[in-house]
Structure formats: structure tokens, C-alpha cells
Amino acid sequence: MATKTDHMLPPTQGQLRIVAALACELKSLIARLQLSKIPQLRAFDVYTNREHTIYALVSGVGKVASSAATAFLHAFAPHPCPGYFNLGIAGGAQAELGQVYQIGKITDVATQTNYYPSFISKPTIEVASLHTVDQAQSTYPDLGLVDMEASGFFATARRLVTQEHIEVCKIGSDNLQSPTHRITSSQVVQWVQAQWPYIETRCQRLLAYSTEQLTYQTLIEQALTQVKQQCRCSTYQQHQLRELLRRWQVLNSDQPLPLQACTNASQLIRRLTEQLETQAYDW
């Protein structure tokens, strides 16, 4: 049974948050990842897996909706370092229908702001530029793709995590020869399905990165919890202990903490400081 102390520990598993504008963009992903809809949510349709490590959300069209959805997930499923993935369709004069593109530059056309997503690992597919527009358009820029969400998604996600946690992938849906009105939901579902191997790789990598970021933090917090179970610590002492425990874990992870010999936090801090100061530093 979970105890109160367990709740104070940071999560041990990473988390991935997927945002898409349309239900059809997520349909095959929901099936592949075995996500189920969370009941009775009014703001958005949100899906999650049994472990609650993946959340997928249908935001609706437009950058404001996408930004709101991203912020909503942050509040709904708190996590210190989740991955963020924006999946959707995008048009472009040269866009190849059904082709998946990794986005390397997002331009918010209304504000003329550029964003440059980093990549968690080297993309193995074409990296494209993307223009996010406020209104659906019948013309395309000479180069790159056009969508209506990415800048809103990216600008908000960037406030919540470091850039390496955020990726945007778009699937070519329309071009000069095949305009937007020809797009059908079933076709979008098929396109996402066909590109699943690449999409899955990026999602898994983001999730793994989120987990990696947690590991050490968790170790230190666990050690601190162990200390707090034995003695009361002021906020300042907890701060000091975190730093000492970090160093202790690096240098003496094979030794138990000298908890038995200390009756209060000040004693423990003194003891750890002394030992870390005088111990051998071998390379």
C-alpha cells in the first residue's frame, strides 16, 4: 500500500505527453499504445495507458488550442521532466503526401517568431521548416510546411521543460496538386499508421530521456527521505543534506549513510562534511 512518504518521492518513471489537433491524427497511436480515454474530462479528450506514463490529448485546431492543451496536461498529470510530442498533418507546396517530417524550425507567421526544436537524437528522416498560421490558407510558402498548431504547442512546452524534451513531427497532407479539401480522416489514420515505426522511435526516445532525467534525482530524494524518517530537518538543513548526499552517492555509494551514529540533522551534516573533506580522493 502506498504510504504518505511514497507520495513525497518524485516519480520513478518518465512521462510522455502527445498533443494532436484532430482525433484522426491520434487514432492509430491510441490503439498502438493501448491508451484509454480518461472519463468525465470536460476540457479535452485525454487518453492514457495503464501505467500513466503516456498521455495523448486531442487539442482541437489552432495554436491557442494547442497551447492550452499543452498547459492543461502539465497541470493534469504533474511530472518534473516529461517529454512533449506534437503530431499532426501539414501542407506544403512540395510536401509529399503521407510522408513524415521532423520539424527543425517553426515560424509563427503572425508574430514572426522563430523556434528551433532540438533533437534528442539525430533525425533519420527529412528535417523541415514549418510555418504556423492563424487561418487556414489556400496558398503555400515556397519552402517548408504549413500547420496551425506547432508554434502554440512549442512556445508553451518550452516554458515547462528544456527544449530537448520537445519534438514536432508532421505528416504531409496536402500540396499544390492535392489541396486540403481532399483530406479525409481515414486517410490521415492510414498515414499515421504507415509512419508508425518512425513515430514510435521518437516517442520511445522521449520517454526514455524523461526517465533518465529522473534517476539520480530519485536516488537523492530517497536518501533524504531515509534521513527525514530518523530526524527532523529544517528546510535549510534539507538543502545542505541534498548537496552532501549527492557527493556521498558519487564517492561512497557502496557505504551506508552514518545514520546510526547521529541523533539529529546537525550531527549528520557535520559528520558527512568531515568525512567528505578528509577521505581519500583517488582517481
Binding site: 528551433y116 532540438s118 528544456t162 558519487v250 582517481w283
Partner: protein, 330 residues
Amino acid sequence: MAAIIYVEQAIRQHPRVRQALKRLNPKQVIECEHYGEIFNPKGQNFRQQKLQPALILAEKQGRKVLPTPEGFGIGGQQNYYFSHMLNCVYDCRYCFLQGMYPSAHWVWFVNYEAFIEELTQTIVQQTQPSYFFSGYDCDSLAFDSQTRFIDTFLPFFAQYPQALLELRTKSTHIRSLLKHAALPNCVVAFSLTPAVIAEQVEHKTPSVAKRIHAMQQLAHQGWQIGVRLDPLIYASNFTQLYQQLIDEIMHAIPSQSIHSISVGPLRFPTKMYQRLVDLYPQDRLLAHPLHKRDQVMSYQAEREQQMVDWVQTYLRQYVDDQLIFQCTPW
């Protein structure tokens, strides 16, 4: 090589950019307006980017030749640095770049002509010899196969014997130097720590033995060699490790080839240290007993002094005291 290449729109047709893109033949080039759009935003993870940095080709605007911080130098009165690159291909855990820049991407400033113009102005204004350091924001040689920095800047400094150029490096890519006759007003300075420490702290760098071999080759061709024992890193067997390192260097390099030796303690400005700890909480060097002193994290004053004194005393067996300098930029 770089995962992604960004190019500032304004220099897309710059000959150095065109040549670089031809050489590198990247799958994709992303255009930007200013390198700062990619390099400067907060909320980037230096550690993660360091695994696969992007290359940004840019134009350096504003001042290109700047005075070095106080305490940085090798005996000159007028000390300047200039950086044709920001960031480094190596990954030393003590490197101040990782605490200073928000991004680990490599920025290469291709407008060498503008650097040369400002260097010329700075040199001709001086009444005394001036010193120019090129390896302040990067390693001077490590990326030279791409930047061709040496081929441009050596001939330039050859015209101004009153200006001394220091190339600071851990690289063994010395072919571009060996192509040229040794320049009397150029010092090729190698940073070294004992091999066992270097292996754990100076990631992706050539081994200490290879660096010493490169120094030897250059000395043999008449180049002046700088030895940079900076930072000094503590170990329980500190004297044994540093004695061995100094002996190896001094047996390999004839004393008349030694231009200068600088010794610098390990120090981090407090904020930079905190940033490094956040990035690398499990790093051994960052678990060392460092203490806050005047907004700087360093070994206890007494330990620090003992380390510096011991190294300087030991060096005096080999070289004249006048060639030994202490470097403490903060």
C-alpha cells in the same frame, strides 16, 4: 560531425560557408536570421546537446577582439582574446564554457576578414608587445580541419612580430601547423592533467601521451611550446601524479622549446558551479571538496596553495622561474 547545420541567411552565399557545406555535404541545412536565435534561448540542456551538437555558421558582429579577464595571461601587459568559434568538440568536466553558454552547439564565425581588420587595428595601436589568445571560447585546433583557421591567421600574425599569438589546445591535429614554418611569435600551448585524471575528466580528448607526442613533433620543427597545467586537480597522490606528468613532458620537450608554463588552480564562479552540478550531479570532479570563497568555488585555500606551490617548485628543476606563470582568471 554535427547532427544538424544552421546557417545565418545573410551569409548563405559567403565563400567560406559554401566551401564548408560542400565539404560537409549535410542532408539538411536550416536557415536562421541570427545564431543567437538557436544559441541564446534559456531552457536548453547543455549536457544533452553535447552528445550531438549542431553546427551554426554565423557572422560575428560587434567587437571581435576583447581584453582578457584579469589574471589570464603569460607575462604580457596587453592581453586580448578573439574567438572564431564558440564551444568545443571536447567535453572537459571543468570547462567553463559549459557553465557560461546556454547551448552546447558549435558556433563558427566565418567572417575572418572582419577579425583580421580589428586585430590589425588593435596591434598597430599598441606601444608594447601584445598577446592574443585564440583558444578562450573554443579549442584553437580541434576543429581546424573544417575552419581552416590556421591557414588564415598564421600568415596574418607573421606580418606582426610584435604581436604574440597563443593557440591553446588539447588537439593532436597539428598537420595544419606542421605545413607552415615555425612562427617565432606563435606559441602552441597544450593543456594537460595527469593521464589517469584526464581519462575521467577530459572526455573525448586525445590521450595525454598523444598530446605530448604532438608537442614533441612541433618542438622538433621549431615551434615554441606552452605547457598549461590548468586546472590543477586534487588527488590523494597529487604529487606523485603531477611529478610523473611533469617528468614526461620535460623529457619529451627540449627546455629551449618551452615558451611558458602556466599553473592554475581549479576554480568555478559559484553560479557556474551550481549549473555544472545540475547538469552532472554524478560527476566525480564535482563531488570534490570545493568551498565557496569570494563567490568562487575552489579547494580550501591551504590545499590550493600547497598544490600550486608544489607544482611550481617542481617545475623549477627543469625551467627558469621566469617561464612559470600562475593563471587565476577568477
